[in-house]
């Protein structure tokens, strides 16, 4: 219960000011396409040079929590996921906005973020020591199986046909191998100089999600304004709050999945939302509503990607191992003040550790209040005419993809992938499995390669990848997941013929 004694440090004038500023800019940066939480936090590092350690971390922590939540804004309103964490948010969130329920979608998203985020940080506060070693259980073979487990949900994710879903996943795996091989340094599939640096995930996300949408708007031609224009429904915050409480299943699944995945370093942030979305769909009685603007999907995705924030810091704070790129930047923010996270952080620098964690807890609340405040206003973006919207999204796509690495190569990759994706979508292929392949491919590959090099020096590949209790559990889950997909495919076909 030590953490309670350090709440006082958060409620100083400077700390509160930093918290508010961090949250405010975090929401803006998170909502900007092309700016991931990692980049937002890295941008703020120079400011922390001038602050004392606890204050610097308050700023970084507030930025981290609010950029993750802010990514939902552009995912819902523009269908541009700001970071991989928000891919699942686009699936139902953007549909809701299209149906005129933008305000409701944003409110639900911020409330779900609050619930997930607070739970995740409470887990961090109360379980940090018992959970410290979880990160060390996972070796290369386990990561490989985790990635394969992720691949198995591809077939069922947002695609009407399992075959085309898997094929989209394969295309994603291929795109992920373009560029330099990460371990051996061999150049692969570089058929154009712009591909020299590989396909950056953020640039790919912008292209794959934003550009097809722009073309779709073009395809409608000169639409008469506001004939079928969307009435943006007013939606009160109390309505949203009661709706959240009426969805305990989606909220519970999202929070649980996010927390568990967050504990596994290196994999969490990117896929927590997608896995939670998939699980919530599998356990839901109205499976068919997913993808059509169903609040459950949005709630599961957003609670998951915020629930992962707290637990993802456990390996950093206890072992000094950054579990995600963002955690790596936070590590820099600590080291710069001569504080080395490790087993003794909570004993030697409790004021830094607890002030940081407490400020993230309060940051969640501030973020939610800000978000609810802007929701009604931001939702009006749905009233913007299609012609203007197409031009805005196109402009944002250019600037966003360029600023990822200030590179024209990323812009070309973004444009080419986006145009190709539009045509693929018209013929039954879908974006979500493709992106999942793009994310999981490198994880599966590098862990397979490193694992088999270790295995070759020990007892051989089979023993390394197929023995041990954790491997057994993960392989079991993979088999169960495939069996479930096959079973639901068959029963759906039976249902169709009966």
């Amino acid at each position: 219960m030590d953490f309670i004694f350090y709440f006082g440090d958060v409620f100083t004038f400077t700390s509160i000011a930093l918290l508010l500023a961090g949250t405010f800019f975090g929401l803006i940066l998170g909502a900007t396409p092309g700016l991931s939480p990692t980049m937002a936090v890295a941008l703020a590092i120079p400011f922390t040079f001038k602050l004392d350690p606890a204050q610097g971390l308050i700023l970084l922590g507030a930025l981290y929590t609010s950029t993750v939540a802010g990514g939902a804004v552009s995912a819902i309103l523009l269908k541009i996921p700001g970071a991989p964490a928000n891919i699942a948010t686009t699936l139902d969130g953007h549909q809701m906005a299209k149906n005129g329920q933008g305000a409701r979608a944003l409110q639900l998203s911020f409330l779900a973020s609050l619930v997930g985020g607070v739970f995740g940080i409470l887990v961090l506060i109360f379980m940090v020591k018992p959970l410290a070693n979880v990160a060390l259980f996972f070796g290369y073979s386990h990561y490989f199986w985790l990635a394969i487990l992720g691949v198995t949900i591809i077939g069922s994710l947002g695609s009407k046909s399992v075959v085309k879903g898997l094929l989209s996943g394969c295309i994603g795996l291929w795109l992920a191998t373009i560029g330099f091989d990460d371990i051996l340094g061999t150049q692969r599939f570089i058929f154009h100089p712009a591909l020299g640096g590989g396909i950056h995930i953020i640039a790919a996300l912008i292209g794959i999600f934003a550009i097809p949408q722009v073309i779709e708007m073009f395809a409608k031609g000169r639409q008469k304004v506001n004939m079928e224009a969307i009435e943006v429904e007013k939606h009160s915050i109390s309505q949203a709050a009661s709706e959240i409480t009426r969805n305990p299943r989606a909220l519970g699944i999202g929070t649980a999945v996010g927390t568990i995945i967050g504990l596994i370093p290196g994999i969490g942030g990117q896929i927590a939302g997608l896995v939670a979305y998939d699980q919530s769909q599998k356990f839901s009685p109205d499976k068919a509503k997913y993808g059509t603007g169903h609040p459950e999907g949005l709630i599961a995705a957003e609670s998951a990607n915020n629930a992962m924030v707290g637990p993802s810091l456990v390996p950093l704070l206890t072992l000094g191992i950054p579990g995600s790129p963002t955690a790596a930047v936070l590590l820099g923010g600590l080291i710069i003040h001569g504080i080395f996270p490790g087993t003794d952080l909570f004993d030697n620098h409790p004021e830094v550790a607890w002030t940081f964690i407490n400020s993230m807890l309060i940051g969640q609340v501030v973020m939610c209040l800000f978000g609810l405040y802007i929701a009604g206003l931001a939702a009006r973006i749905a009233q913007v005419p299609q012609s203007v919207m197409a031009a805005i999204v196109l402009g944002l796509a250019l600037f966003g993809s360029y600023s990822v690495q200030t590179s024209m190569g990323d812009v070309y990759v973004m444009g080419a992938l986006g145009i190709a994706m539009y045509f693929l979508e018209r013929y039954g292929f879908s974006a979500a499995p493709l992106v999942l392949g793009l994310i999981l491919g490198p994880i599966a590959e590098s862990n397979f390669v490193t694992g088999s090099t270790i295995a070759a020096a020990q007892n051989g590949t089979f023993i390394y990848f197929f023995t041990g209790w954790l491997n057994f559990i993960l392989i079991g889950l993979v088999v169960a997941s495939i069996a479930y997909s096959a079973w639901s495919e068959i029963s759906a076909k039976k249902g169709a013929t009966a």
Partner: protein
């Protein structure tokens, strides 16, 4: 729906898959292409499956394209390609974006094209957008975008 319309995209994907598999199995060093070799087999198998489905006229189709849609999006897509792949770098981001934005509005805005007022509105929206982009990317985020000939 036209069967040929299904065969073309699935055929292109099958061709890509076969090319990926061919590259994976012919290039050296083989360790670097181990993973591509594994998945490209699946890639080829699945893409041939969808191609055969398309030839037989079965399988999930997606909504396809129609002539009116293509006519509608063709000018926009051409402008988009010029903008992303050439103009942005050649003229500088802000100039290219201003011009493209205004052209797209003129093309797709259903409001009257004969009244001065609606042209004024388009110009105003363009200026507002560029101002916001400049504030966000140049001032707040300090991204140095290509400035080339103009800005």
């Amino acid at each position: 729906m036209n069967r040929l319309e299904q065969i073309i995209p699935t055929g292109i994907i099958a061709a890509v898959g076969i090319w990926v598999a061919w590259v994976s199995y012919t290039q050296q060093p083989s360790e670097a292409f181990l993973f591509p070799r594994i998945f490209s087999g699946v890639f080829v198998a699945l893409s041939l499956w969808t191609l055969i489905e398309a030839i037989l006229g079965k399988g999930a189709k997606g909504s396809g394209l129609s002539v009116s849609m293509v006519k509608n999006f063709a000018p926009g897509v051409i402008i988009m390609v010029i903008y992303l792949f050439w103009a942005a770098k050649f003229f500088g981001f802000y100039t290219a974006t201003t011009v493209t934005f205004f052209i797209l509005l003129s093309l797709y805005d259903p409001a009257s094209h004969n009244e001065l007022k609606s042209w004024g509105k388009r110009a105003l929206i363009t200026v507002c957008f560029i101002a916001v982009m400049y504030g966000l990317f140049a001032k707040l985020l300090r991204v140095y975008t290509p400035r080339e000939i103009f800005f």
